[in-house]
């Protein structure tokens, strides 16, 4: 059974603070969807709304077409990890999983299965209060996997993990997606999801800034910029401008050129006799794409999906600079 998560026009205020401002996106099965944004962008609130924990002021969230609160054994449909520290410290990890399994009518062997799956056999019978953050993350993931759900949702799962754990987590997420599950993973660091997420939902100030496949996003963010390194910056700039390009100085020896392809720039510089050490088409990293998207208000608005006529006036929407 495929489960799609649909988030549709969520709005929520906490007092004077706008937490969600028309949050809309979909998480499709079979791939990892990165849910990226700075702290306070509304990622956790969105996840709580999906789980029926917080009620939105407007909009709705559906899990496989149904509100989460109507699910009878929800952990068999959507597994989630919001806060790995949400544990009773004097209860062992295994007992924590045991009551969760009971609440879903799942047998105790599921508990042992997920303990093995997350590699926490050694710690399972110790009190959870003594766990490292990484071990708590594994316990939280084990809890999310108890019901063998067709969709999973993890809030900042890389937090507190050692490098080995991060590598394990990436592989784990990819494997879940490969099995056909819908996987939503939030992070405030784009780099964590660089090679893992096939799809990205970038958010700021409670709404979606960009919602596209990782490949498209990288291509768009790279734009037509060309990096030009030269000791004769002034002459080079003049030559490029004559050829119709626009130039911005990045450092003393480095210029960024837009409006001209790299090979055309090489020709222009050659004709003008300006020496250069490097001309290279810019290849954006996800991190840069993310910063680009959130830096410039104009680009942000252009990239944002057409929100229904409710887009508030400028100050609110100039998100996350």
């Amino acid at each position: 059974m495929d489960t799609t998560l649909e988030v549709d026009g969520l709005r929520k205020r906490f007092g004077a603070t706008v937490a969600l401002d028309g949050m809309t996106f979909t998480v499709a099965p079979g791939q990892v969807t990165g849910f990226i944004g700075p702290n306070g962008a509304g990622k956790s609130t969105t996840m709580r709304v999906i789980l029926g924990l917080d009620a939105p002021d407007e909009g709705r969230a559906l899990v496989g077409g149904r509100p989460y609160r109507t699910l009878r054994r929800p952990l068999t449909r959507l597994g989630s990890l919001l806060d790995a520290s949400a544990l009773q410290p004097s209860r062992s990890g295994r007992n924590h999983l045991l009551w969760l399994a009971s609440s879903q009518g799942l047998p105790a062997r599921r508990v042992d299965a997920v303990i093995e799956q997350t590699g926490m056999q050694a710690a399972a019978r110790r009190k959870a209060g003594g766990y490292s953050l990484g071990m708590r993350q594994r316990l939280g993931i084990a809890a999310a996997m108890l019901g063998d759900p067709s969709a999973v949702m993890f809030d900042e799962p890389f937090n507190g993990m050692d490098p080995e754990g991060i590598i394990w987590m990436r592989g784990f997420l990819r494997a879940l997606a490969a099995e056909g599950r819908a996987v939503l993973v939030s992070s405030h660091l784009m780099g964590e999801l660089q090679d893992t997420a096939g799809h990205l939902v970038i958010v700021g100030r409670g709404r979606v800034i960009a919602d596209s496949s990782t490949a498209d996003l990288l291509a768009a963010a790279s734009g037509d910029r060309v990096i030009l390194r030269t000791a004769a910056a002034a002459e080079a700039a003049a030559a490029v401008q004559r050829g119709g390009g626009s130039v911005a100085a990045v450092g003393q020896d480095t210029l960024t050129v837009t409006g001209l392809a790299a090979d055309k720039i090489v020709i222009l510089l050659g004709e003008a006799g300006v020496p250069f050490s490097e001309v290279a088409a810019h290849r954006a990293s996800l991190e840069e794409a993310y910063l680009d998207l959130t830096r410039d208000a104009a680009e942000y608005r252009a990239a944002a999906p057409a929100a229904p006529d409710t887009a508030p006036a400028a100050p609110d929407t100039q998100a996350a600079r």
Partner: protein, 540 residues
């Protein structure tokens, strides 16, 4: 290190497959409770506290006494035998009885013209007579009238019509029952006619102001009344008590009293031919010392009988005068308040601990129907508390009463139904109070606040109510309107309006047992209802 999961299609539509069971939630909450060792230990501590305090409630008393023959007795041997009434309740049954046997059906009729009395004094020098220094006056429940009694044995079944010191004409039977007849005092100018008729097991009482117009006061069946009963005139008068409230309690002066009734127009139908009136001192009244016999008894002048007696025909109550038993079974449940403190903490924390670290979100994500979570928690904590409370109460009462008896303390006997109500009621009280604390934990979310609220709402009123630190009126209000009213469920001996005693906490509660318990249930239901609403509406 990558993907240790087997390739398979996840969660094949099992979501709606299982039973939509509340039992799952219940099991989950039970696992939650039993897997926190601190909570389980705390429940055991609550039981131990209840029992330790309860078993030694009476202190270490070692009663010694003299059997009258110079032999020193110890412990249980010192407990004097107490007459028991037909219902099994201990009774006082001492009066002057002027009687004849009555076989089969019949009736006794008298006119009363006077009821007077003396009280206090006594034990003066023999030369001045036993009533030296006593004052003139009847007690409110001095009684004079007619009686049909199974036998002259103390505790035997009876029904009686009587005039009283200040409660008008009454019909009383089998010690605990009391029906009002004509109001107002008796005197020569307003005499009272009294009649009892026996028909089979049924005895009917009548009164009249003029001997012509009779009113039925009551008809009662005395089960198993033998063919021949004793019928006649009686007079008795309970100890005088002057109770005055001192801060947080009562103090009283208690002394002997006697009453004298004047009877005429005495008619007995159904008597054996040839029988005559004979006086008997039921229960050795001796209110004014060994010489009391000079005072108690009867004189007859023609149709006019003057009968003087002392004592009472009434149930014994703790807190009454006259040195009756004062120890009750619930005295051994005093440790319940200590157990309550521990259990209130657990009840509050069973919910508030989930908020402390955000575990509540995991719980509500697993069971989005939030009311079920609260209901399951309430059932789990109530069951645990009830079971623990029941074990503790049974041990405290069963063993405590036995120990007290062996040490020579007379513990007020109660029927097994009352015993069950007191013991199971205490367990139920603890369970409901813990549920109240759980609801407070849900509403307040913080353990410290919830525990403090639980203590303030439940434990503090209880202590204020029974520790005799408040004026009695205030203490009784506390025990009427706060959750501590539920401790009324522990009251094993009822208060009788026809018996004068100090009916004050901690032995007597202002509300009936189940009414008091109902007050706590009301609070718990209210708090739980609010908790349901808040839990469902609030963002987790």
């Amino acid at each position: 290190m990558t993907a240790t999961i087997a390739r398979h299609r996840p969660g094949q539509g099992r979501e709606d497959a299982g039973r939509d069971g509340f039992g799952r939630v219940l099991r989950a909450e039970w696992i939650k409770f039993r897997t926190v060792r601190g909570w389980v230990i705390a429940v055991v501590i609550a039981v131990v506290l209840m029992d330790l305090i309860g078993l030694f409630a009476g202190g270490s008393v070692n009663t010694t006494c003299d059997n009258g023959g110079g032999r020193v007795l110890h412990g249980a041997a010192c407990i004097p035998p107490q007459p028991l009434g037909p219902g099994g309740v201990p009774v006082t049954d001492s009066f002057t009885f002027v009687r004849q046997p009555l076989t089969g059906n019949g009736s006794v009729t008298v006119r009363m013209t006077s009821l007077t009395g003396r009280y206090g004094g006594g034990y003066g020098p023999a030369s001045q007579g036993p009533a030296a220094g006593s004052k003139i006056g009847v007690q409110p429940w001095s009684k004079a009238g007619i009686i049909i009694k199974q036998s002259t044995r103390q505790g035997a079944a009876y029904a009686a019509m009587m005039v009283t010191g200040s409660h008008g004409v009454r019909m009383q039977y089998d010690f605990t029952h009391d029906i009002a007849g004509l109001a107002g005092p008796v005197s020569a100018r307003s005499p009272r006619w009294l009649r009892l008729t026996r028909s089979g097991d049924t005895i009917t009482g009548y009164d009249s102001a003029d001997g012509r117009h009779w009113t039925e006061v009551g008809a009662v069946a005395l089960a198993g009344l033998s063919a021949t009963a004793q019928a006649g005139l009686f007079v008795t008068s309970p100890a005088y008590m002057s109770l005055s409230e001192v801060f947080g309690g009562t103090t009283g002066q208690v002394g002997p009293s006697l009453a004298t009734g004047v009877f005429d127009h005495v008619r007995l139908s159904g008597a054996r031919p040839g029988s005559t009136w004979a006086g008997v001192d039921v229960g050795n009244q001796d209110a004014f010392g060994p010489q009391s016999g000079q005072l108690e008894g009867f004189q007859r002048a023609g149709d006019r009988f003057t009968v003087t007696g002392s004592g009472d025909i009434a149930p014994q109550v703790p807190g009454g005068g006259g040195g009756g038993p004062n120890s009750t079974i619930e005295g051994h449940l005093i440790g319940a308040f200590a157990g309550l403190i521990v259990l209130v903490v657990i009840g509050a924390m069973f919910m508030s601990a989930e908020y402390r670290r955000g575990l509540i979100r995991t719980t509500l994500a697993a069971t989005p129907r939030r009311g079920r979570v609260l209901a399951a928690k309430a059932i789990v904590i109530a069951s645990v508390t009830f079971a623990a409370g029941l074990a503790a109460a049974v041990i405290a009462v069963a063993v405590g009463v036995r120990l007290a008896h062996d040490q020579g303390t007379y513990v007020f006997p109660v029927s097994w139904l009352t015993w069950l109500r007191v013991v199971a009621g205490t367990a139920a009280l603890l369970a409901v109070a813990t549920v109240l604390a759980l609801a407070l934990g849900t509403l307040l979310r913080r353990s410290a606040a919830a525990v403090a609220a639980g203590i303030v709402v439940i434990v503090v009123p209880f202590i204020l109510g029974i520790a005799q630190v408040l004026p009695i009126g205030a203490a009784e209000w506390v025990l009427r309107v706060t959750p501590a009213a539920a401790f009324a469920i522990e009251q094993s001996v009822p208060a009788y309006s026809q018996v004068r005693a100090s009916y004050t906490p901690p032995i007597y509660f202002p509300l009936a047992p189940w009414a008091g318990f109902g007050v706590l249930c009301g609070y718990a239901a209210l708090a739980l209802g609010l908790a349901f609403i808040v839990l469902r509406r609030r963002d987790a």
